[in-house]
């Protein structure tokens, strides 16, 4: 065996580390290669996800590259054949002692009052390698103790060891170069520019990667000592990127979220909203008990009482005719198991298909699930990334980081098609504006543009550049809802045009809400059943176990609200949904809540909508329950409970099971594990994703549902992503995963630290990205796949066989045509996209109307931010952003309050000129404190046309400021 490997072409580099021969990857840095083989070279500035700078000199060791041993920084030097590394030589030791002493001479040594004390690499390395006492008798360097460099981060310059991690992160990873070194020599310090705070959406990462306690997070400062902390591995559910995290608590309160480094998703980074909005979970405003309406008031009640009231309302409504007499709105906040239980409850016991996890703010489920899908890695590895969605920096921050990296460091080309400029615009090779409602026209015109006849200035013409880039070998489109003030159809139509013209294209969903993809996968959309099958095609399959199902597809969110407004909904269930805040058309939402026979809210907070309910059932929240969640790629990863829910709040799936029971049914779901097992058994797309796999090292990265090809050639450049084990190292900033207790899911398996060595996307990678010839939208590829052999054929034969096979290897295949359908139903085929429905044409342009664009900012008036004291003040409030040329005719200047009128309503906002908003368009952020956007939008219209006027009654019209 060994000989054979010798003879085969050698793909590794052999080096000697402390006398032991080891194999390293070509291009790997010495520090990373040594660590993979168990030799930890101390370091401060090195970070596997950032460019090496070799500044701290802590990793300097004797390395012999053939010309005798020389002291070299292990974090800068790539391995070379025959290299000898001696980390233990007298000289290596002397350097390490020396550097450590240098770092300590000016260090304040205030460990007892330092947040980092106990998990501080400087402290640890001093213990491990350092001298006993100080030879430094001079006066230490002094700086004013911590200064706030932003609303969220403090800096203690006395503790700083100037490792350049925070600054490199800000400049190179986040693209927010707002902190830097100033002064020189021994007076060197990190600071912001005068009057320019470190206002980055990613600032918390610097706190995590700071190797000392120099950067402190306001929400965590003095909250806990590291040795009191308890942690579990989990997944951030503050948006749909699904960043992997370590969730930490002290005395049964959440105190910190840390990013965990997984290759396919977040690389250890988090956004500040995700990092800090756990404060809301701890909020005193959380619902700890159910409420029931008594006249005008909602009063606290026992569960028995509240469930009885809810059962009564549902029971009464259930006896009413009409497909919409009961409707369930929401579910994107739920875990997969919760969503499945509610999906089953609705379809079976409640007998309704009018369920929708989206609140009219996304895209049709058929498009999201049915289009050929891409992973984040595939998008980053594509030649061309087409962005047809919202501002990713605001809505999906860590996806923004990944795509930015792909453009800046890997040469991917970005084509942005959007109604206004976004945070991504500066990275786009071509960034084109379209008028709301006219996305499809723009896409078609680009696809029709002949790129060949380039006359002279072609290179400078972004339309031609975009057209050229669309013809690249691999194209991934990031698809979402660019604006809530225009209907989703034009965007779907644009996607359809892309699919028709570019057979190899795949799509990465940019729907933002936490588990919206999981909820859709679980069938929380009209006409859809769990496992990405349609009600029609899945009926036979599901009815065997579920019993009878609704006979026809139900209504979507807009339909439900319209029906409720017209008095046709007898009972409306709000599943963590707050349509008054989140539905684009506030007027319709208001009328719907008023018109519904009764309203049952299942929520963790008493939202504006929940206040209108007749019964409010207190639900447990993130961190208080285990289960799984699914990110925008369709990647399933685990959630773990860390703290107990307030009062008697319960998991949503339990509430569903309880209601079913009281209504005389039985969901047959008596534990979280049982729910997942049923999903794995019944949901066609989820077969094979067993609990065992999810809790194995493979599951640590999350498992992508369906056959989603990965960019097989995607590999991080060696200097940037020496894949450290998923977040392991003695340096904080990497969470020690092996210390993460594994709970929930009933499995002993712990994530294996070594699993991070797998290439990106390993679990589901099919090798070479599949050539897309067949029905890719249906989620399977043609031809042979690894693991799919004769076995798979057998699996196809009967359901019983599938039940028995249990392992993770099986790849199921489409049922083989119509001929062999016996008495046992075949697994139904996965959803495929039938193309966009009919599109309402936008009204003709006129000279006076402007089209409204409205989308979300990271810090909004949403429940989590609103209840997080550190984040709530960061919501910028609402402004009218308008092109200077559109403000001029009004004769007012930037800063003036102006009136905005639509067919729906009127608002008065401060106008701010913004050349990033094209003429003919205005922008108002959605769901900001004081934002009137949802008061202007009429979901009955394809676009929202508004007019501006001066408002003498609202202020001083003449003054410009």
């Amino acid at each position: 065996m060994a000989e054979q490997t010798e003879q085969a072409e050698k793909t590794t580099v052999t080096i000697t580390v402390d006398g032991r021969q080891v194999e390293a990857q070509p291009g790997e840095l010495v520090i990373a290669a040594a660590e993979r083989h168990g030799v930890y070279i101390p370091r401060f500035c090195y970070h596997p996800r950032m460019r090496s700078v070799g500044m701290c000199r802590m990793c300097v060791v004797e390395i012999d590259s053939g010309r005798g041993p020389a002291l070299q920084p292990a974090c800068m030097l790539p391995v070379a054949e025959g290299m000898t590394v001696d980390t233990q030589s007298a000289k290596s030791k002397k350097v390490q002692d020396g550097v450590l002493e240098f770092l300590l001479i000016n260090h304040p040594l205030d460990c007892p009052v330092c947040d980092k004390g106990g998990e501080c690499p400087l402290q640890d390395q001093t213990l491990a390698f350092g001298p006993g006492e100080s030879r430094f008798v001079e006066e230490k360097r002094h700086f004013a103790k911590p200064i706030a460099i932003s609303e969220l981060v403090y800096l203690d310059r006395e503790r700083c060891i100037l490792c350049d991690r925070c600054t490199r992160f800000a400049n190179e990873v986040a693209g927010d170069p707002l902190i830097s070194f100033i002064d020189r020599g021994n007076h060197t310090q990190i600071n912001t520019f005068p009057d320019e705070p470190f206002a980055s959406y990613f600032s918390g990462n610097t706190v995590q990667i700071c190797p000392v306690g120099a950067l402190l997070a306001k929400p965590y400062r003095f909250r806990a000592r590291p040795w009191d902390l308890d942690q579990v591995e989990s997944t951030c559910t503050s948006c749909s990127v699904g960043c992997r995290i370590a969730l930490q608590s002290s005395s049964n309160r959440l105190v910190r979220k840390l990013g965990v480094d997984v290759d396919p998703v977040n690389w250890g980074w988090l956004c500040d909203k995700g990092r800090f909005d756990f404060e809301a979970i701890n909020s005193d405003d959380r619902l700890g008990a159910p409420l029931v309406r008594q006249g005008e008031e909602l009063a606290q009640a026992s569960w028995a009482e509240a469930l009885a009231r809810a059962t009564e309302a549902l029971d009464r409504a259930g006896r009413r005719p009409g497909r919409e007499s009961i409707a369930v709105l929401g579910g994107a906040r739920l875990g997969n198991e919760d969503a499945y239980a509610w999906s089953k409850l609705a379809r079976t016991v409640l007998g309704t298909d009018s369920v929708d996890a989206q609140l009219g703010d996304g895209l049709p489920a058929q498009a999201v699930l049915g289009l050929p899908r891409a992973t984040i890695d595939a998008a980053c590895g594509a030649d061309t990334i087409v962005l047809l969605g919202p501002d990713l920096k605001e809505e999906l921050p860590v996806l923004y980081l990944r795509l930015r990296d792909a453009v800046v460091n890997r040469g991917a080309k970005l084509v942005e098609l959007s109604p206004v400029e976004t945070g991504m615009t500066r990275y786009a090779t071509a960034s084109l504006r379209y008028r709301p409602g006219e996305a499809a026209q723009l896409v078609r015109s680009l696809l029709e543009l002949r790129t060949g006849d380039d006359r002279g200035n072609g290179a400078a013409d972004p339309r031609r550049q975009a057209a050229e880039l669309l013809r690249a070998d691999s194209v991934v489109c990031v698809l979402g809802r660019p604006s809530l003030a225009e209907a989703p159809e034009p965007v779907c139509e644009a996607a359809a045009a892309l699919v028709d013209a570019l057979p190899g294209i795949s799509f990465l969903s940019a729907l933002r809400r936490a588990n919206v993809h999981g909820a859709l996968d679980m069938g929380l959309a009209p006409g859809l059943l769990p496992g990405r099958v349609s009600l029609e095609k899945g009926r036979r399959w599901f009815s065997r176990e579920w019993g009878s199902l609704p006979s026809e597809p139900g209504l979507d969110a807009t339909g439900i609200l319209e029906a409720a407004a017209n008095g046709r909904v007898a009972c409306l269930v709000l599943l963590g949904a707050d349509p008054l805040a989140d539905f684009p058309d506030r007027d319709l939402a208001r009328r719907a809540l008023a018109g519904a026979g009764s309203v049952i809210a299942v929520d963790s907070f008493l939202t504006d909508s929940a206040r209108q309910a007749d019964v409010v059932l207190a639900a447990s929240s993130f961190g208080e329950k285990s289960g799984t969640t699914t990110n925008l790629e369709g990647r399933v990863s685990r959630l773990h409970q860390k703290v107990t829910a307030p009062g008697t709040a319960r998991a949503d799936w339990m509430i569903a099971a309880e209601l079913a029971f009281r209504l005389g049914g039985d969901l047959g779901l008596d534990s979280l594990e049982a729910v997942w097992d049923e999903i794995e058994r019944l949901a066609p797309s989820h077969q094979g994703i067993t609990r065992e796999r999810l809790s194995s090292p493979e599951g640590f990265d999350g498992i992508v549902v369906g056959d989603v090809p990965d960019a097989s050639d995607h590999q991080a450049p060696p200097s940037m992503a020496q894949s450290d084990s998923p977040g392991i190292s003695g340096v904080a900033g990497h969470v020690k995963v092996d210390t993460l207790a594994s709970t929930g899911m009933g499995s002993e398996a712990r994530p294996d630290p070594q699993s991070g060595d797998q290439p990106a996307g390993a679990p589901e990678a099919l090798g070479q990205a599949a050539t897309v010839t067949g029905p890719r939208g249906m989620g399977y590829t043609e031809g042979e796949e690894p693991g799919a052999g004769a076995e798979a054929e057998a699996v196809e034969a009967t359901v019983e066989a599938e039940h028995g096979s249990g392992g993770g290897e099986d790849v199921f295949r489409p049922s083989g045509g119509g001929g062999d359908q016996g008495t046992t139903p075949q697994r139904p085929p996965l959803l495929s996209w039938a193309g966009p429905g009919t599109t309402r044409p936008p009204p003709p342009r006129d000279r006076y109307s402007l089209r409204l664009v409205s989308s979300r900012r990271l810090y909004d008036d949403g429940t989590l931010v609103h209840h997080s004291p550190s984040l709530a003040p960061l919501a910028a409030g609402a402004h009218l952003r308008v092109h200077p040329g559109d403000l001029q005719p009004l004769g007012v200047s930037s800063g003036t309050r102006v009136g905005i009128t639509s067919s729906r309503g009127r608002a008065v906002l401060e106008a701010v000129t913004d050349p990033g908003v094209p003429q003919g368009t205005v922008f108002v952020a959605f769901n900001q404190p004081g934002s009137a956007a949802s008061g202007l939008i009429d979901v009955g219209q394809p676009v929202t046309e508004v007019r501006l006027e001066t408002t003498p009654q609202d202020g001083d019209p003449g003054s410009g400021g």
């Binding site: 500044m55 800068m76 240098f102 100037l162 070194f181 021994n186 060197t188």
Partner: protein
């Protein structure tokens, strides 16, 4: 005394009042070297410079021709950068070259850019040198107007732009990779070599040549007279002429253009055309042979020739060509402290041993000089030095001990860190007793 009577090369126009003008330069044969070069192929020009064995004058002494041939083939664009950041204490020879004969530098630069096929050239001038900046700016504009720079230079079909840039007052920006960072608009901090050797990954990560002002000022002459003519001056290993900035306790401090190899340090100090002997006839105590970062020499080394191949193995360097003479009235502790203070102040702060170590050493030396020293401070100084530049530290042969050859080793990114150790090591090596007196008597015996 064997002082050469060779006529100077780069300082010939220093006495003319108008050499900095285009007219003055043209009147004295200016731009003839460029015309000659343009008639050759770029490779032929490189061959001439190689034949001249023109050693770099910025400090490292690397032959210019050899440096140019390190550029990776066919990688374009490539850049040429003139290092005019001269800031090392005692070094002041680039400044007169820029102030008094800017066209000579520009002509040398043009020839060099032609030779290496540079796409663009940059002249980086130290922030404090206002006159040099002004004269270079005027000279560049004049040369543009007269067709020596810009499009289709002298009808040759070859074009080049030269950009003048000035610094913000940091010594470290003289280090070539820090200079490149600064040119790119970053904070001037050195890059680590490897991998950032300018020839491979320099300005904007493109191949880049960095040459010193003086190095380039010799190029027009080499072009006009041929590389061999230049190589014939001096000795085989120490070729040509070179500027030395002589300062300290001599009668005639100044910048002298001296023949390499045949001239000794003693000539430099004593010859009437150079130093003219020690100030007040005092005795020599020690001298810095090549800029503040060089380990010191003592009277025993006076007869060494100005030849890197001799000075290096003897334990120091010719460096930037600054010779600083200290007579018997000099306090060795204070001299060391003054030099260290400079380096501690100029440390860029990028790497730990220099940022922390230099100021630590400075604080200890200051304490000793002020009379608060402790016996153990001497060992501490040497050990802290050893953590910046792991020993044995370069030193001349003294007191029966063998010389430790240059260069020093470093735990730092660039040689500024070890530069701090030089004065400490050199002063303790010879003048340990002076330290003892400071410590015992609680103050400086020199007052």
């Amino acid at each position: 005394m064997a002082v050469s009577d060779r006529s100077p090369i780069v300082t010939t126009r220093f006495e003319r009042g108008d050499a900095h003008t285009l007219e003055g330069y043209l009147a004295t044969g200016g731009y003839a070297g460029l015309r000659k070069a343009l008639a050759m192929t770029p490779d032929e020009v490189i061959e001439q410079v190689k034949a001249a064995n023109l050693q770099g004058r910025g400090g490292a002494g690397f032959p210019a021709g050899a440096k140019w041939s390190f550029l990776p083939k066919d990688v374009f664009p490539r850049y040429f950068v003139v290092n005019g950041d001269e800031s090392e204490p005692g070094t002041c020879k680039d400044r007169p070259l820029m102030e008094r004969d800017p066209h000579q530098l520009i002509e040398g630069l043009l020839i060099s850019c032609y030779a290496v096929r540079a796409s663009q050239a940059f002249i980086y001038v130290r922030g404090e040198m206002a006159l040099a900046q002004e004269r270079l700016a005027i000279a560049l504009n004049g040369a543009y107007a007269a067709g020596y720079i810009g499009k289709d230079i002298l009808g040759s079909g070859w074009s080049l732009d030269v950009i003048l840039h000035w610094g913000a007052g940091a010594y470290i920006v003289g280090e070539e990779t820090a200079l490149i960072e600064s040119l790119e608009g970053q904070r001037g901090m050195p890059r680590l070599k490897p991998p950032y050797f300018p020839a491979a990954k320099g300005l904007y990560m493109q191949p880049t040549v960095v040459n010193n002002v003086e190095t380039l000022s010799y190029i027009p002459w080499v072009m006009q007279h041929g590389g061999e003519a230049y190589a014939a001056i001096g000795t085989e290993k120490a070729t040509g002429l070179r500027l030395f900035a002589l300062s300290g306790h001599v009668r005639r401090p100044g910048v002298y253009e001296v023949e390499m190899g045949t001239t000794t340090f003693r000539d430099l100090v004593e010859a009437p055309v150079y130093g003219g002997g020690m100030r007040h006839g005092n005795k020599l105590k020690a001298f810095v042979p090549g800029g503040a970062s060089a380990p010191w020499f003592y009277p025993e080394q006076l007869d060494l020739p100005l030849d890197s191949s001799v000075v290096g193995p003897a334990g120091s360097m010719l460096g930037s060509g600054a010779v600083v003479i200290m007579d018997e009235t000099t306090c060795a502790v204070r001299a060391a402290w003054r030099l260290v203070r400079f380096f501690a102040h100029e440390s860029c702060g990028k790497c730990t041993p220099c940022r922390e170590g230099a100021s630590w050493i400075e604080k200890i030396l200051r304490r000793i000089e002020k009379g608060n020293g402790r016996e153990e401070d001497l060992d501490l100084l040497l050990d802290v030095g050893d953590n910046i530049s792991p020993g044995p530290f370069p030193r001349p042969a003294v007191d029966g001990e063998e010389a430790v050859p240059f260069p020093y080793k470093q735990t730092t990114i660039c040689p500024l860190g070890p530069s701090t150790v030089s004065p400490v090591h050199s002063s303790i090596l010879r003048f340990r007793d002076e330290y003892r007196i400071h410590i015992k008597e609680g103050g400086c015996p020199y007052g």
